[in-house]
């Protein structure tokens, strides 16, 4: 244990995701030895992120305005909504440039153990968006794990009665990889989702 301020900083850093006690200590001493101007910039950045960044009132993605850049963009197609768990998933899909529609960020996945139920996710907001009739396809892009699948199943049951097309992202083989190195679950899924070559 260190005295006073340095220990407080180590404790605070240690609360961050992916930062263990040793990393926290290293970062704390790095901060202590850095130039004041550099640290001032870091402090400003942290303050501003809390003050300036909001969540888009339409999709829930992080945004500097009431609405995010994607929702404001008139060139984005209105008929398709891609549902993801987190804002970082929007970034991942945007990088592919495959999707021209808009997003909906749920803010997590259903997980009863952690006390996260459908009412804790932005599902009501999604249903409101679907009610206006412009959307014809909902793409469920939640994580391919147990909680993500459960969330996708829950949403599919909710949305299908509205008469919309509901799709789920395919799971399968990584591009550029070797078939023999794929794990059996992935390979099994890839078999299940095989396609006819046109």
């Amino acid at each position: 244990m260190y005295e006073g301020a340095i220990q407080e900083l180590i404790d605070e850093l240690g609360r961050l995701p992916g930062v263990g006690p040793k990393s926290a200590q290293r970062i704390a001493f790095h901060i202590l030895q850095s130039e004041s101007v550099d640290i001032q910039r870091l402090v400003e950045a942290i303050r501003e992120v809390k003050e300036r960044v909001k969540f888009c009132e339409i999709c829930g993605n992080v945004s500097e305005d009431v609405q995010c850049r994607i929702c404001r963009d008139p060139k984005r197609e209105l008929h398709a909504i891609c549902v993801v768990e987190e804002s970082k998933d929007v970034q991942a899909i945007e990088k592919t440039r495959e999707f021209r529609g808009r997003y909906h960020v749920l803010g997590g996945a259903i997980s009863p153990i952690e006390g996260i139920g459908p009412e804790n996710l932005r599902i009501k907001e999604l249903m409101t968006r679907l009610a206006d009739g412009a959307v014809t396809e909902v793409i469920l892009a939640t994580d391919p794990n147990l909680e993500g699948e459960a969330t996708a199943t829950y949403l599919a049951r909710l949305i299908k009665p509205l008469g919309l097309t509901v799709t789920r992202l395919a799971s399968g083989l990584p591009v550029g990889g070797d078939l023999e190195y794929a794990d059996e679950v992935t390979l099994g899924r890839a078999f299940e989702g095989r396609r006819t070559i046109q």
């Binding site: 153990i113 139920g117 459908p118 829950y154």
Partner: protein
């Protein structure tokens, strides 16, 4: 197959232990608490990714250390593989195969196959259903490593669903978890049914070599008397059954159908073993189950040189001469056998073994 090299770092009582091993019989002799079982426990961990003595990995790491390492070289029909596991306190374990990190420790399963006999095996016959489910599932994973994933998914889905049931959930909220339970549960039950069908002849044969008299039998008992055999049919059956169990599940806050409530019913002649068999008969039965498991894995291996390791942890002291005789026959058919005993007198006189003495954490030939 055989283990040619074992290296433990901060594992249980061992700060650093290196052993060159050979095919044939290797014995570790030492009083209780000297650390002989720790050695075979480590070998078992390489094979199953879990200890046969503890459910949590924490006791495996030497006191006041953060991580333990188990390294083992496995020789299978002339091929050599280096398996390494890092056991971490409070974090996920990591593994490497031939110095290449693997994405999940589960990828190690199947690379070293072993069957472990321990004094606690009597619980297979006399203990709770969970002992027999563990026996089946462990064997299932050795046979088809993919099922480690199915079992992990099922257990996680079960925890999530039970957490939900305790909160008086809406029907709509349960539906996704009903589907998970039906899908993974049916896959696991179907795999267990297949396993029992293939295993039973070997167990019957093994029992005959130990004991004369009544024929033994083993049938799978599912908690809700499911009738189907295939995974697809079982999935439908469970899915249709779930709504009829709703009220009870809500009241008790637990899932009432699925492989977690099933049992393997063991019989001797017309009577169930549990509660009726003598101590001797129970031992013979437990031994026959392990021997059957060994022979099933042997028979399904890739021929000569792929027999699983046979590990006998302190079992000779528990057995009379007839049962020892049955084990000796099995020992003769194995490529490598690791044996532990408290005193040399416990080991059979005819033993042609390489003997190590374990004292205060040191292992000497």
């Amino acid at each position: 197959m055989f283990l040619s090299y074992l290296h433990l770092t901060n594992f249980r009582s061992y700060e650093n232990l290196e052993l060159e091993l050979k095919p044939g019989i290797t014995s570790f002799v030492g009083s209780n608490g000297e650390g002989k079982t720790n050695i075979v426990e480590a070998v078992g961990f390489l094979a199953y990714l879990r200890s046969h003595r503890t459910a949590s990995d924490n006791p495996l790491v030497r006191l006041e250390h953060e991580k333990a390492y188990i390294r083992g070289k496995v020789e299978t029909a002339g091929r050599q593989e280096l398996l390494e596991i890092e056991i971490n306190q409070g974090r996920a374990n990591r593994a490497r195969i031939n110095q290449q990190p693997v994405r999940s420790t589960r990828e190690l399963l199947g690379h070293l196959r072993a069957v472990l006999f321990t004094p606690e095996d009597l619980a297979l016959v006399k203990g709770d259903p969970t002992e027999r489910r563990d026996f089946l599932d462990t064997l299932l994973i050795s046979r088809t490593p993919r099922y480690a994933g199915v079992i992990a998914d099922y257990e996680k889905a079960l925890k999530q669903r039970n957490a939900l049931l305790k909160n008086r959930p809406h029907e709509r909220d349960l539906a996704p978890w009903d589907e998970h339970i039906a899908r993974f549960g049916s896959q696991l039950i179907a795999a267990r049914l297949d396993l029992i069908e293939d295993l039973l002849p070997f167990v019957i044969q093994a029992y005959k070599s130990i004991s004369e008299g009544d024929e033994i039998g083993a049938t799978y008992k599912s908690s809700q008397d499911l009738r189907s055999k295939s995974a697809a049919e079982l999935e439908r059956e469970i899915f249709e059954l779930i709504p009829t169990l709703r009220r009870g599940e809500m009241e008790r806050g637990v899932t009432l159908v699925g492989p977690h409530r099933d049992d393997l019913l063991l019989t001797l002649g017309p009577t169930p073993v549990k509660g009726y068999a003598s101590q001797g008969e129970s031992w013979s039965y437990a031994l026959a189950l392990r021997m059957g498991a060994y022979q099933l894995l042997s028979a399904e291996g890739m021929g000569e040189g792929s027999e699983p390791l046979l590990i006998l942890d302190d079992v000779f002291a528990e057995l009379d001469s007839v049962r020892r005789g049955a084990l000796l026959a099995l020992i003769d058919s194995s490529e490598q056998v690791l044996v532990t005993a408290a005193v040399e007198a416990d080991l059979p006189k005819s033993f042609n073994d390489r003997r190590f003495y374990v004292r205060e954490g040191s292992v000497r030939e």
